[in-house]
């Protein structure tokens, strides 16, 4: 026994010694993140924090430029053709791509990865709802057949869940793309501490809620990344992240809140990046009179939109926040220019209320999840809405709810008048069709094919299948203007999103899909 202990000590001392030598030459990037993911299986990807890992380790067929989501560019697929009816997408893969273990990428890997993602029936599986089949007629050709024309399919394919994994390796570790994958696939355990991707990095070690360590992929097919190692360290508290960044222990703070921006800007060692987030904060006005009461009346809904002071609401969320004109956030193709948005007009609001038969106003409950989302305190926003509505005679009683409780009521369509947020599921404007009748949010508002105006139903059906970008933009414009007049929502603002990093870091770029491309950074 003693001999074993001595051996162990000697071995571990040796390891420390070796570690020391490597550490001297090694370039390490340390990222501070409030860890939100529980799995590193990309086919189960859902949380935004996980994208930092997936985007570094895996590739997708097509992608976005690192600083925008407005253009789709080639990645593993060097080109693609779309059939006239928009039902069949044929991708041609690059012929020089290898996985981190040296295996060449083949079309079979793509078929396996897509089918596995769909059949795992996990959080992102809905993204494959419009995919009828994936086939590999030869090693470098992938044919994707849809169930209906889907103008958003390429944008969906960019999400982490459509990452391409090495089929042979994942199969060896218990993975399967069969229809019963949800019950039979056991590869997740292995994918927590290993990876099987074509990206610039590989997963070296994942210690849940402590850190995720990535190392450079020696077989990467593109330009090698600068950093030898990336450590994503879990720092759940934003004030701690700030201190660690100031002390130089981390290179990037991913969860900066608006209040901290000024103090960072005064520090020459630190750069700040601020923009509006893709999160939309909005008011729900239930279309069912039994539930919504007075706010189910389109005239009242419009009056409420005119009663709000949007600039002051945005101010509550701090720096970087912005007001979208309608229910499509700024940054998405076809979103109305913010200048077309609402300006507070109390006279108009009062006149509309009178027209609706509520000259003396009314009393209503305003429900909201009582929490803070990326620096936006819902309670404070609700108070501001209450104050604005009081000016036109509407008495809003604030009803704060515990988040999960509120979420349940909202998803079941039981809230009459409430404050909510929506994050994009994928980066195509089509995601906002969910706000239209019988969409995910439409249903929660009890706004369905039965009670909706035929004009909006026609617009909705047209935009869902339209493939021509110019016509789509036009249709989205019409939909947003229609919602400004008659929709059961009030768009409030998009909160700011902020990142801070050490000034010696080069190559920082942001887009909403994966936020920061860690592989493009250098020192």
């Amino acid at each position: 026994m003693r001999r074993i202990v001595v051996l162990l000590i000697a071995l571990s001392l040796g390891m420390v010694g070796m570690g020391g030598v490597i550490a001297q030459e090694e370039q390490v990037l340390v990222v501070g993140l409030s860890e939100d993911y529980h799995s590193l299986d990309p086919s189960r990807a859902y949380e935004p924090g996980g994208s930092l890992v997936h985007h570094s380790v895996y590739d997708t067929l097509v992608t976005f430029p690192s600083d925008s989501v407005s253009e789709i560019i080639p990645n593993l697929a060097e080109s693609w053709d779309i059939s006239e009816d928009g039902m069949v997408y044929t991708f041609t893969l690059r012929d020089d791509v290898t996985f981190s273990n040296g295996d060449p990428l083949t079309a079979e890997d793509v078929v396996f990865s897509f089918n596995r993602m769909k059949n795992l029936k996990d959080n992102p599986s809905f993204l494959a709802d419009t995919i009828a089949s994936v086939e590999a007629p030869d090693d470098l050709t992938v044919v994707l057949t849809l169930t209906q024309p889907d103008a958003a399919i390429l944008a969906k394919l960019i999400f982490d869940a459509f990452s391409i994994l090495n089929a042979d390796v994942v199969r060896e570790q218990g993975g399967t793309d069969a229809e019963d994958a949800a019950e039979t696939d056991t590869a997740e355990d292995w994918l927590m501490n290993n990876s099987a991707g074509t990206g610039p990095y590989m997963v070296a070690n994942y210690e849940p809620t402590v850190q995720t360590v990535l190392v450079r992929n020696p077989n990467y097919w593109g330009e090698p990344a600068f950093f030898d190692r990336i450590i994503i360290q879990n720092l759940p508290e934003t004030s701690t992240q700030k201190l660690a960044l100031e002390a130089g222990d981390i290179d990037i703070a991913m969860d900066v809140i608006a209040d901290q921006v000024a103090s960072f800007e005064a520090n020459p060692d630190i750069e700040v990046f601020s923009t509006q987030s893709d999160t939309l904060i909005w008011l729900l006005m239930n279309a069912d009179p039994e539930i919504g009461g007075p706010v189910s009346d389109p005239l009242v809904q419009r009056a409420i939109r005119y009663a709000l002071n949007y600039e002051e609401l945005r101010f509550l969320s701090g720096e970087g926040a912005n007001n979208p004109a309608s229910m499509v956030p700024i940054g998405f193709a076809g979103a109305l220019d913010p200048s077309e948005g609402f300006a507070q007009d109390l006279d108009k609001a009062r006149a509309l209320l009178e027209e609706a038969g509520y000259a003396d106003g009314f009393t209503i409950d305003l429900e909201y999840p009582d929490f803070n989302y990326i620096g936006t305190e819902f309670g404070i926003v609700a108070q501001k809405v209450q104050a604005d509505l009081a000016q036109i005679g509407i008495t809003a009683n604030l009803v704060p709810q515990e988040f999960q409780v509120s979420l349940d009521l909202y998803r079941n369509g039981e809230q009459g008048f409430s404050l909510w947020l929506w994050n994009p599921d994928y980066y195509d404007t089509l995601d906002y069709v969910e706000f239209l009748p019988s969409g995910v949010v439409g249903n929660r508002t009890n706004w369905t094919d039965e009670n909706a105006d035929s004009a909006i139903l026609e617009l909705r059906d047209a935009v869902k299948t339209e493939l021509d970008p110019a016509v789509r933009a036009e249709l989205f414009g019409e939909i947003q203007r229609w919602l400004q007049e008659y929709g059961p929502y009030a768009p409030l603002f998009q909160p700011g999103v902020h990142f801070a990093y050490r000034s010696d870091l080069q190559g920082f770029a942001y887009n909403g899909q994966w936020r920061v491309d860690l592989t493009a950074l250098s020192r």
Binding site: L13, S125, V210, E237, S239, A247, D249, V405
Partner: protein
Amino acid sequence: MALHKYLARRLLLMIPLLIGISLVAFLISNSIPADPTAANLGERAAADPEIVAAFRAKWGLDEPLHVQYLTYMRNLLQGDLGTSIRSRRPIAEELARYLPATIELATAGIVVSVVAGIIFGVISAVWRNRPIDFFVRFISLIGVSAPVFWLALIGLLILYLRLDIVPGPGRLDARIPAPPYMTGMYTIDSLLAGQWSTFRNAVEHLLLPSLVLGAFSSGLITRITRSSMLEVLSQEYMMTARSKGLKERHVILRHGLRNALMPVVTIIGLSYGSLLSGAVLTETIFAWEGIGRYAYNAARTLDFPAIMGVSMLIAIVFVVMNLIVDLLYYWLDPRLRQG
């Protein structure tokens, strides 16, 4: 009563207690008007009836409550604490990962508070109403009343950022890999593995959080020690001891402190129990992923198996702490041994 009989009885009493606690934890977490489906499935998956039905079936949520409870208890009897809904990992594995972090921090915290608390308490009782007494009472008042997250942030700001004498948040520097898992406590594991630099780093990382965590209980222990000492110091046997010509130091420590310790031990036991059941705020600010954070996250996401596991664990911690306190009484007070 013989000690081993007493112990056996106490341990047997744990069984009904744990059953009671499991029942209460189960009923409370199931009576919240929120659905674990919504908490654990994404926006779209939760809107898909097929996925929701599969989810409910997988986690047994489609069974009646009493069946769910009995299934849980049956598995528990076989040593199976179930699987976390949130992370899909076995609860036992997760508790084994997070509890050692908390034990390490709570132990360091209680050592700080016991040493500081007893020394301050004795000093302030012996020099009652002198300036030093007022000073100690003032400090202990701060310890008891300052919010822990404020202390933690101020501590980090001064000692970490400005003076750079303690390391930042976390149990180790980001660049230092964790020692091989033996006990889960980094200080002990690094020693066992002979990784001296890792050990040093782990100890350094413990300093500030244990000071912050110890501040509250040391304030409490100071106050209790002081009042208990004052009572003992006025007893007649103290005068007897002095009149026998014993040295003052001997009188105070052997005759005074030992007799004053009974209520102090109770407070230490309770403090240690509450430190062991996790300190969410301290753990959050210092990125110290322990039982407190685990319990918080479990509750937030309605992860029923995790909530149950952590409730049972904390119950056991308190029962064991109480048992240890009672055994200490036994040792401190000879009358109990004879009676």
